[in-house]
Amino acid sequence: MRVAVELADLLHLDLLGLLIEDTSLRDLAKIPFARELRSLGGGWRAIHLDQLSRDFELSARSIERMFTNAASRLSTRYQFELVRGTLAETIASISRTGDIVMIFEPLNPAERATQQFTWLLQAAFQSAGAVMLVPTQITRTKGPIVAIAAAADDPSIHAAAAIALAAKEELVIIEADGLDANDPHISTFAANTGLTIKRLSAAKIALPDPAICAQAFRQTQERLVVMTRGAFEDTAASAIAAARRVPVLVIEPLSGAEAGH
């Protein structure tokens, strides 16, 4: 939640906290033998609709309080909403181009295995907005912004540059298809923005591999990675987030320039 607030603050974005009460759980509660395994040694308990509603309400209050506390220092607007519906439909209906959907990787691997997380990922990547994947542990909160670009005009470069300017950080461009030393785009871009830009090259196919990924980043102590959706394998973003332990922002192919602006 703190990362979301910091990003919103950095980019002067409004922040929306969205708690979705998944209707599939209400369906489950109506099945006679449905029960849940409560965490922390709570054991198996039958699921009742009224109890489920109360648990949701309590969770919602708690999460809203945490959200409000974290967001209260924002200079931009913030809002918390509780929505009942399916994850896919809710996210699809709410997200707009230019939004960033932040997904925090669950601490508990069981949560990652749940159907809701699968639905969430699918919904996020199918939404109109960009997606930020936040790993369970974040190594650094300061350092360069890395753009992993498939080409010199990759939108991720513009988005990363905008964030680097806002955060007063260096921009590092990892060119997945190899360096073109004569490419005029980068030098022009550096001159226009005043940014310090460092260029590295990496094999596009190898990035999801943690060892190769570490090699590609070399000694870069980045705080954020930006890449363009569709330019890499589907699993690349979450693999890089896990390997580098920094958030990865996956932007829409056409929204990069807008983000840059």
């Binding site: 849940e36 395994l37 198996w44 990652r112 295995a113 749940t114 159907q115 542990q137 190594t139 943690p210």
Partner: protein
């Protein structure tokens, strides 16, 4: 009147000038100013004390500490320090001591002894180690290698967990079951096309299918339960692996640094042992120095503030820098904390906390291996200090105690630092009264302060000693940066020393008083633009000192001159005499005459001291008056009961009277009253008397003579005025120059008196008369007149008794 009883030709003669003042004899010392004199260091005229100090400082056994006593202003500490400086050079420089953290029990810091001067090196080496660690540890824990290995461990766990849950998810998916997150846990639900089966649809399923689904879910629930039960164990494994990685990483980072730190101290096993302890602590507790990451999972990326390394710092408690000799420490404020050290606290979020770095050394730590100089009165006035000093001397070690904790002032956690072995020679300074009182009241004094060094107040005034004291004067002047003194100035300073000693044949050793005179004379010389201090400067300084302090004396004399206080300095009166007393206030003393009167009548043989009756007379004064009864009883009318009532009083005395120096004057007044013979009022008397009528020495003779002289001089000297002093006090005379000048021209006189007979003859002009072979005193003599009067009183008393009127009222 019979010629036999008039004042005889052998009557008392005034003292000669040479007896009134003894000039300095500097013939054995050739110099024109003190600049030419060799300075003199150490103790002058203190052979007895010097022997004691040398003995006390050299004998190396427990309890042989020194108690130095002497007069105030003798500058005993300075003198002793001069002796000790010599002794200290012969003793080795003591060890350094440091306190380090106790990694097993932080409340008991460890004391480490190091050779002289090595503590600072040790401190610097550890400080450098810490600086290096501050750079090396974050670097190694933020390195790619560490991050990769750490990531691999986490990834391994994640993978293990993910595989287990993925397997469960896949297994469930095969059977159209999905895993769901509920607000408080997990649940398994029947699914169709990846979505939970709506309840209406589920209820429409055949019962057999519903039962089959239920059985499938129950089986999967067991799998889910099994996996979840394994999670803590996997997490424990991960933590162990991370801990081992951290240890290995820390060891890699610190090993070389530790070896570098040890290299300088290979010869000091205790230091090497401590550094090894530091290595172990660093490796075992590296998590303390590596902060948590943004998550709460104990990531190692971010370092905590540098103060966590303070536990490896060195607290240099005491170190001997440079001086290759035993320390000489004088503690002027021996409060307990200043004496034995203290444990300080710092506020942290409203609570007071402490650690080994806040242990502060006391004077006894700094003096350990050398000498500790303390003022006894100051030690006794500070709560707990005297008891603590004795306790340390008994135990032979210094234990820092937090007295606030004992008294309940602080209830916070405190420290119990390792005690440090004690090898110190304690030297206490005090006045004699304090020492004798302490010796009487505290039996432990003799146990811990076995050596007494008693400073002399004065030394014999021989030409050699005068020369020695002249060199001391030169030394004092030089030490204070004063102008040199010429011969005459030195002579006057020495004469003042004799006056201060209250003895023409002695010289005061209270050097502080001499120093004060020199400073004031130097000021006077400076004002007069003289480069050398002259006799006039010294004389001026002495007069100025008196002038500054003499307001009360002047007011007293003024009262006499204005006849508020009745003192006659001419004529003669029966039963009235001028006694002399000394008043000492604030270090200045002066003499003043006091009228003493006596009345007699028949009675029961009692001499009443009115001062005593009203409790204004002290015991010694009362004793003096009671002696008068003994004198009368033993000398007169031995065959007749004593039938006298006499009352004696110090007229216009409204304060306490103590001492017996006026007892001869009282006796003269009593004899005058009994003999009905007037006493000369142009004379004043001082001296005590015994039962045989012998005049005994008193104190303050110079001030007393000068006190009466001042009154006479202001009224106009008649040439008959003077003072009767005991013969034994002649040796003490060092009178003021104006008094001597008056005596020289016959305008004033000082008479030495050995017996009452001599004194009464001078005061009355009538000889006392000795008892003849017939048992009678010469007719007309004072003694005969007194005896007759006493017999008359006895007759009166007998007459009353025979008339049946009973005894006279008892007075």
């Amino acid at each position: 009147m019979d010629t036999a009883v008039t004042a005889p030709g052998t009557a008392l003669q005034p003292l000669r000038l040479a007896q009134l003042y003894r000039a300095t004899d500097l013939s054995s010392l050739l110099f024109s100013t003190t600049a030419e004199l060799q300075p003199i260091e150490g103790l002058v005229g203190q052979a007895r004390a010097l022997e004691a100090i040398r003995f006390g400082t050299q004998v190396g056994k427990d309890g042989f500490n020194l108690f130095v006593i002497g007069p105030n202003g003798a500058r005993m500490p300075d003198a002793v320090k001069a002796v000790l400086a010599e002794e200290a050079r012969a003793r080795p420089s003591p060890s350094d001591w440091v306190y380090v953290n106790n990694f097993v029990d932080a409340e008991r810091p460890v004391a480490i002894e190091l050779p002289t001067g090595r503590a600072r090196t040790f401190h610097d080496a550890m400080h450098k180690l810490i600086d290096d660690l501050k750079a090396a540890l974050p670097a190694v824990f933020q390195s790619e290698d560490y991050q990769t290995r750490r990531g691999a461990i986490d990834e391994s766990l994640q993978k293990k967990q993910s595989e287990a849950f993925s397997a469960l998810r896949d297994k469930a998916a095969e059977k159209d079951i999905v895993l769901l997150r509920t607000p408080l846990g997990f649940a398994l639900a029947p699914a169709k096309d990846g979505q939970v089966v709506p309840p209406d649809e589920f209820s429409n399923w055949p019962e057999s299918k519903r039962n089959e689904i239920r059985a499938t879910i129950e089986a999967l629930e067991k799998d889910l339960e099994h996996i979840i039960h394994q999670l803590p164990q996997w997490e424990t494994q991960r933590r162990d692996e991370v801990r081992q990685l951290n240890r290995d990483t820390a060891k890699y980072a610190v090993d070389q640094l530790i070896e570098d730190a040890k290299s300088t101290f290979r010869d000091l096993a205790r230091v090497v042992q401590h550094i090894e302890t530091v290595r172990t602590d660093l490796v075992e507790n590296v998590a303390m120095f590596v902060g948590k990451s943004e998550s709460e999972d104990g990531d190692t990326a971010e370092f905590r503030p540098s103060n966590v390394f303070d536990r490896y710092e060195i607290n240099v408690l005491v170190t001997q820098s440079g001086d290759k000799q035993a320390p000489i420490i004088e503690e002027l404020h021996p409060a307990l904390a200043n004496l034995i050290g203290r444990i300080e606290y710092i506020p942290v979020r409203g609570a007071l906390v402490t650690n080994f770095r806040l242990i502060k050394a006391g004077a006894i730590h700094r003096a350990n291996g050398g000498y500790l100089l303390l003022d006894a009165r100051s030690v006794l006035l500070e709560p707990f200090s005297w008891a603590a000093l004795k306790r340390m001397l008994r135990q032979g070690k210094v234990a820092i105690e937090d007295i606030g904790r004992f008294l309940g002032f602080t209830s916070t956690v405190s420290l119990e630092p390792d005690p440090i072995p004690l090898n110190v020679k304690v030297i206490l300074f005090g006045d004699r009264l304090l020492y004798f009182l302490l010796a009487a009241l505290d039996p432990e004094l003799a146990e811990y302060f076995k050596v007494l060094a008693d400073f002399e107040n004065d030394l014999a005034r021989t030409p050699e000693n005068e020369a020695t004291l002249a060199r001391l004067v030169a030394t004092l002047a030089r030490r204070d940066g004063l102008k040199p003194l010429d011969r005459e100035a030195v002579a006057l300073v020495l004469e003042h020393a004799a006056r201060s000693a209250e003895h023409a044949g002695k010289l005061s050793l209270v050097t502080e008083q001499l120093r004060e005179i020199l400073i004031e004379a130097d000021f006077g010389a400076g004002e007069a633009k003289r480069s050398v201090i002259s006799r006039a400067d010294v004389d001026g300084a002495l007069l100025a000192r008196i002038r500054r302090a003499a307001r009360l004396r002047d007011r007293t004399q003024e009262a006499i001159l204005e006849k508020v206080a009745l003192i006659d300095t001419a004529g003669a009166h029966v039963g009235q005499i001028n006694g002399l007393s000394v008043i000492e206030l604030g270090g200045f003393s002066f003499g003043r005459p006091t009228r003493i009167t006596c009345q007699v009548r028949p009675g029961s043989g009692k001499v009443v001291d009115i001062e005593r009756e009203v409790e204004l007379g002290g015991p010694v004064h009362s004793k003096g008056v009671l002696i008068l009864s003994g004198f009368l009883a033993g000398r007169y009318a031995l065959d007749t009961p004593m039938s006298l009532f006499a009352s004696l009083v110090f007229e216009q005395s409204y304060g306490g009277v103590e001492g017996d120096s006026a007892s001869s004057a009282e006796l003269y007044a009593l004899l005058s009253a009994l003999a009905d013979v007037p006493l000369r009022q142009d004379l004043a008397v001082t001296g005590s008397v015994n039962q045989h009528g012998e005049i005994q020495a008193i104190g303050g003779v110079n001030e007393k003579i000068e006190g009466f002289f001042d009154i006479c001089e202001k009224r106009g000297l008649t040439g008959t005025q003077g003072v009767l002093i005991p013969q034994a006090n002649v040796q003490h005379l060092m009178l003021r120059k104006d008094v001597i000048d008056a005596c020289a021209t016959g305008r004033f006189a000082v008479y030495p008196v050995a017996t009452i007979n001599e004194g009464i003859a001078l005061l009355t002009g009538i000889a006392a008369g000795d008892r003849g072979v017939d048992g009678n005193y010469p007719i007309g003599g004072i003694n005969q007149r007194v005896e007759d009067r006493l017999r008359a009183f006895a007759s009166v008393r007998r007459a009353f008794a025979s008339q049946g009127a009973g005894a006279l009222p008892v007075n």
